[in-house]
């Protein structure tokens, strides 16, 4: 099994779940399994063309999946998949 870390930004939509264990496979398969477990995530994580939605990056075993085959990136047993959302907060900073 692989471990998928759900970012804090999305946790409220999945009942506070922080991480889930999902069968290894490709990154696309793992994220699809995640979206099947939590259907509310599907439209957030995936763009209409099936790629990862804008504002999100995925890392497999600490490496940017875009460099290792995108959604085809192999996810091995015990790998950690990190879904990283762009976070804008600066603790309140003005400047914009």
């Amino acid at each position: 099994m692989s471990t998928v870390r759900i970012p804090p930004l999305l946790r409220a939509r999945v009942g506070g779940t922080k991480q889930v264990e999902l069968p290894a496979g490709t990154l696309g398969e793992v994220l699809d399994a995640l979206a099947s477990a939590y259907p509310v995530l599907r439209s957030l994580l995936f763009a209409e063309d099936g790629t990862l939605a804008r504002g999100f990056r995925a890392f497999v075993d600490s490496r940017d999946a875009r460099l290792t085959g995108g959604l085809s990136t192999p996810v091995e047993e015990h790998d950690l998949v990190v879904i990283l959302p762009a976070t804008g907060g600066g603790g309140g900073g003005g400047g914009a």
């Binding site: 600490s62 990190v82 762009a86 976070t87 907060g89 600066g90 900073g93 003005g94 400047g95």
Partner: protein, 380 residues
């Protein structure tokens, strides 16, 4: 039997070979691994010394040499002012097991007399020596590094949750010029995390509040306040002349504007962002590593991009992240360590964990790719 000074000196000469300034000069060029150790007093070292030398004054030589030259098999050349103290110091090192020790004949005076190069450490005032004494004790900073910090210019965009701790510690560290961009006024709800400000400054412009706090902390620091909104029309002017920019903003729009201008100007940006209990940190060093658009080509949809005023944030989280930003700034300014270029640090306060993620430049990046740089140069 008691020995006279002349006997002791003769014994030292017999035990420790002497090299002329020309020989030492050639040796340093031919064998960069030679450890050149200045055993004079600190006041003599501070006036001038031989480039590349390390300082371990004779009065503390036994204590300090193991840190300065841990490898006892390394070749060591000692020098003092005239070549006497270094001979006796050489005997000490041999007794401590240093196998290959020599002394510069005629010392620093002979070196200077031959017209060989010297370097003078940066001059700090007595007050600065006291204020920054803990920095001066670190070899990676020292007087030269401290002087570099005092000459450095850092722009902090946003005097908020991230900018507050970053500004405080950069000011304390003696970064000579701190530019601060913020158009807001201090509000009561800021004070749970924005430690630059104070209760009696509610309603005051944040830039002025920040300047007052920093002036009280460190009069060495010049604060340049910019009470304006950073946007496409003024970003080039605002960041011009700064060595590093701290991104402490709270909107994607500003982050992209800042990124694009900083890449074009070749100025590194130390980036952090926070959400409730979590923070992200990385360093965007133009053309040496990825930029913000390489990491996130486009912002998330608005429903997934709440600011702290909507989602809330544990006050210490921007504190932690802002201090990590200040740390990365100091590393960049001093040229030490491994800046977080192409690496993103994810801090989870609830878990008490840091996760490091690695990413690279996007060859198709519309801002920092080679094609984008060429297009900019061509005015396209």
């Amino acid at each position: 039997m008691a020995k006279s000074y002349s006997v002791l000196l003769a014994e030292a000469r017999a035990e420790v070979p002497e090299l002329t300034p020309a020989e030492v000069d050639r040796l340093l060029v031919a064998s960069p691994d030679v450890a050149l150790v200045d055993v004079r007093e600190a006041s003599e070292w501070e006036r001038a010394h031989i480039p590349g030398a390390v300082h371990a004054e004779r009065s503390h030589l036994e204590r300090d040499i193991e840190a300065a030259v841990p490898d006892r098999s390394r070749r060591v050349v000692l020098y003092c002012a005239a070549g006497i103290r270094s001979l006796f110091a050489g005997q000490t090192l041999r007794a401590m097991g240093y196998a290959d020790v020599a002394s510069l004949a005629g010392g620093f005076e002979a070196w200077v007399g031959r017209g060989l190069p010297t370097t003078a450490p940066a001059v700090l005032t007595d007050a600065q020596r006291l204020r920054y004494s803990r920095h001066l004790l670190i070899p990676e900073v020292g007087a030269d590094g401290q002087a570099r910090l005092l000459e450095s210019k850092v722009l902090i965009v946003g005097a908020g949750g991230l900018g507050s701790p970053a500004a405080l510690y950069l000011a304390a560290a003696g970064v000579g010029t701190l530019g601060i961009v913020d158009f807001d006024v201090v509000e009561a709800s800021n004070l749970q995390r924005q430690v630059l400000h104070a209760t009696d400054r509610i309603g005051t412009k944040k830039v002025r509040s920040a300047a007052a706090t920093i002036a009280a902390l460190n009069p060495d620091v010049r604060v340049v306040g910019h009470e304006e909104v950073l946007g496409p029309d003024n970003v080039d002017r605002l960041i011009a002349g700064y060595d590093v920019v701290v991104d402490g903003t709270d909107t994607f729009e500003t982050r992209y504007t800042l990124n694009d201008a900083a890449v074009a100007a070749g100025i590194p940006v130390v980036h952090a962002s926070v959400f409730r209990f979590e923070g992200q940190l990385t360093v965007f060093r133009p053309h040496e590593g990825p930029c913000y658009r390489c990491l996130f080509p486009a912002p998330p949809p608005p429903e997934l991009a709440p600011g702290c005023s909507v989602s809330g944030v544990l006050g210490v989280v921007p504190g932690v992240m802002g201090l990590l930003q200040a740390t990365e700034v100091l590393k960049l300014l001093l040229g030490i360590g491994d800046p977080l270029v192409g690496r993103l640090l994810l801090y989870d306060a609830l878990e008490g964990s840091f996760t490091e993620l690695r990413f690279r430049r996007d060859p198709t990046c519309p801002v920092c790719s080679d094609a984008a740089v060429e297009a900019r140069a061509a005015g396209r």
